[in-house]
Symmetry: C5
Subunit: 263 residues, 5 copies
């Protein structure tokens, strides 16, 4: 494991990742049409300069183009793999960016999706191994696993036991931070956090919900011992991203409840 | 991204790629029988010396044979992958040329086809990654993605949202220029251009149509913020390629309308 | 073969491996819910400091995180491959850790699962070959094969002849120690031990059974010429792991019977 | 392209390749039973010392064994890939010999079969790419593509358009010489020769036919602008190989007609 | 080819390979239960010290363990690939040992199985190529191909034409010695020997038969121009291996008939 205490991707050991790879994963129409100016990555980088954001997760092309102008103000989480939603078949996500090049561009951490449960799980584990070892051994970079059990063998990928399995897999395979879906309750999240041992666990933000519902789940994550949040649409699809980031800052870094944060 | 300002493959930030890999992709009978002298690549290289043409896209064997005689007058876009239309199965295009060898032969830019939506999308993304990183990191060469969503999961590959998805993919995966099919209207093209962020977007010429129809679509592309055109048959299948190139020069580089260009 | 006489993973030529990769292989709910504090790997490392334990087998992430604090008291058996039970298909176990990195972290031995009989047997043999040769040639590390015949061609993987086949395969492919399931009797175990020639054979502990039944099978293994035991749940799922380890120490290293050990 | 003017595999820009890999491709019974002494490769090497023969195409094992005794008198065309006819499935031909080793053994040219139209076309193109670039870049060796469209997508692989497609593919992928089947007429052959641009085209000899029929087709090839012939059985299955080589020499190198050559 | 005149794996140009990889290929129960002490490889190494034996073929694990004690008295034929009979599917045999490591351990020759006719034939040819070139180019080691046509396309793998095809394949792919099944008669064996050109041909011993039948087939092989025998069970499953080796020595190296050898 890479010590995260001094890493720019944490703040007091807590994490708030802003993620924007939806253009690749879902297409520009699905997630951007309600706030089309966010198609311009500069808009997202501007949002990511907010103090609450500990790092911004983007794909290679976005980082190559815009990160050089923001490297003083934004910490870069290089999301190495990704895929479109245009094809069919067992889940798999190819590596679109090498760790070496991410490090060369100044990345502060590496992000990688693993679909345990897919028939391609063995290939993904081998891909992850190469990424994890290069990051840890060659570049001292922490690794965030988007740990999303998914595939033919899994009907319901948000069961408590599946989420906890995902966070345990992240730990045993050597991730420093596990990004998992919210399992629905504080108790379930505690099980996922315990399963991850010393690997930090952050909740994946998911599709946009109301301020209160969103902040309440973040509050439950923090109460359960989680390290924070990775969020995309729930921030930049909002009319006022700064307002929700202010609230998240209070919940994640200042122990506020959802109610307090919205005051 | 590679700064394109000083690149020989642009002129005032605009692009006109002449493409001739139809012998490999479609066979010598399909596209050449009406103008058989174009089977001789020298004929195409001669056309490519026109001032309007910012680069010529050909396969390795053609470049090895003819480019040495034209390297003062033609800018070379090395089209690295390609396939015949003789086989069946999910779309895939193998790499027939390494970036290193293309650079050694004097290429000014790299071209690569990616079929998002194919069941082979993951493999193509990994192939593209290796090509893109070698081009950017080892040789400072810009990369043009022929971004053509295609495959079992896609019924209609010219929908506005599909074209825009293709141009976004090109951006997120690190292409400097996205070559996409014309989505049918200026408005749709604007969406594709916005989706590509700072990656330039050029329209793919397609099969031969009338002068006016062709130039009108190019005009719409330029109005939509597109960077230009990649064209093959619509130039070299014409009796007088120079005449249409003169007209394209006016539309692309001199802001002329289709009507003005044909005067 | 690597001489095991001076290896920290043996004691008087005998072996007691404590294994804990169940979080990856079975998930945190399956094996840990009865003793949830064992989800914390420190608990397992503490158990592994018992004198009877000659090495502790864990996955990379666990070793990276906790082994640095225990390297004086615990001998590390780096379990390189592993998979979740979430997916379906012919048995295969991907490599999640390279030998080089395991050696860098201070591993004293390498562990690798091979599923002979799976349609992926050829790939697993090639994977094992690379691991075995790197361990022996580059790092002088002994290799333990989890030799588990399994797959479409095998209905019953605990037949005497299958277990013996597994131990022979471990020998011919170059393992120093073969970890096999208990074939049900001392006589069957003798056949497995003879089949392994000079490769040591240890019994795989399996799911939790009563103290007496468990120790009796270990006694039979030792009587059959086996080198010892690899055990997980039968130790750390017990309320008092130290007590069973004391008993195992007597059976494995002091020639006690099950009855004597439980006195 | 490699300049062929000074290459030992041409004579006045013309080509007569003697090929003997039928033992691998068809087995010793199929093609050798009528003239069993040709099973001895020395017999074939002796024939290849005829002045008309510009190079001899054999597999690695044959070259390793016999070429050292003939390297003053025979020019070696290293046929790198090949397969038996014992298996079933989409056409593919594996690489049995590296370019580096062929060069080390003194090869004057490289030969490689490509089955465009097979579902394995993409893999064959990638294999060919590696071979072609190593030959051209590392060893200045010309490459002959056995360009044989074949596979599930092709019913009739001797159509004029298919043969011409094959010769175009050879050119675009960087072959110096294309070996294609005879398309049936001089006019069809002209189309194939034009399609190949500056890549030389030679006819593949095929199974044994009468002297006159055979020489007439060679005459048509030369009249069509072809560079010559690659022949096996039509030479060494004859009782008097020297006689047919004398005749071929007249047709290929001395512009004789079939009638004149047989006088 | 590697000159075999001075190689320890031949004696007067003749060959008698003792093979023992049946533990991997068939399991310890199938071939060893009648003479269980042969499960101990030392027993086989002792047999291999007989003057008639020109080399002993074993897998890596066996060689690593026992060969260091016998390297003065036994010549090692490193059998690199092998597989269990537990799985199903088209024949394939994975590489379990690299040539480099075999050479490091002191191997005098390399052995490799190739199943022509299997749908995996292309992969096996590529595997063989790498092995053959490394052996010949890096280590001057001769290569023995176990050339066994087998797979979906082959109903009867002991037809005369199939055996001859196998020996021809061994020659064209660069084997120094071809190990083939006995085709049933001296005449058929002559065809196989001729098909192999200068590659030596040895008969594969097969399952245990009577002394006379066994020696008669060896006599026929020698009369047909074969170089000798590769034998396993027909030696070490006998009560008195030395007696049959004495007889084989007379037939193979002293031109005795089966009758004379048994006197």
């Amino acid at each position: 494991m890479i010590p995260l205490t001094d890493s720019p991707v944490t703040r007091d050991g807590k994490v708030l990742i802003l993620a924007m790879d939806h253009g690749l994963e879902h297409g520009p129409s699905a997630d951007f049409s309600s706030v089309p100016e966010t198609l311009n990555p500069e808009k997202i980088f501007d949002i990511a300069t907010h103090d609450a954001v500990t790092s911004l997760a983007v794909q290679k092309g976005v980082a190559e183009t815009y990160y050089p102008s923001y490297d003083d103000d934004v910490s870069l989480l290089a999301k190495l793999n990704g895929t479109s939603n245009l094809w069919m078949g067992e889940p798999y996500s190819p590596k679109n960016w090498t760790v070496d090049y991410a490090a060369e561009l100044g990345a502060d951490a590496i992000g990688y999706t693993v679909y345990s449960g897919s028939n391609h799980e063995p290939q993904m584990y081998e891909d992850f191994r190469e990424v994890q070892e290069t990051a840890h051994r060659e570049h001292d970079l922490p690794v965030v696993m988007w740990s999303y059990p998914r595939g033919q063998g899994l009907k319901n990928d948000t069961k408590e036991s599946t989420i906890a399995y995902g966070s345990r897999i992240a730990h045993e395979l050597g991730a420093d931070i596990a990004k998992v879906k919210y399992p629905g309750s504080r108790e379930s999240m505690e099980w996922a956090v315990k399963s991850a041992a010393d690997t930090k666990v952050v909740m994946s933000g998911g599709s946009k919900v109301s301020d209160y519902d969103f902040l309440s789940s973040v509050e439950a994550v923090m109460d359960a011992g989680g390290a924070g949040l990775a969020v995309g649409r729930n921030v930049w699809q909002r009319d006022d991203p700064e307002r929700i980031l202010d609230a998240l800052e209070r919940v994640i870094f200042e122990d506020a409840t959802a109610d307090e944060a919205l005051e």
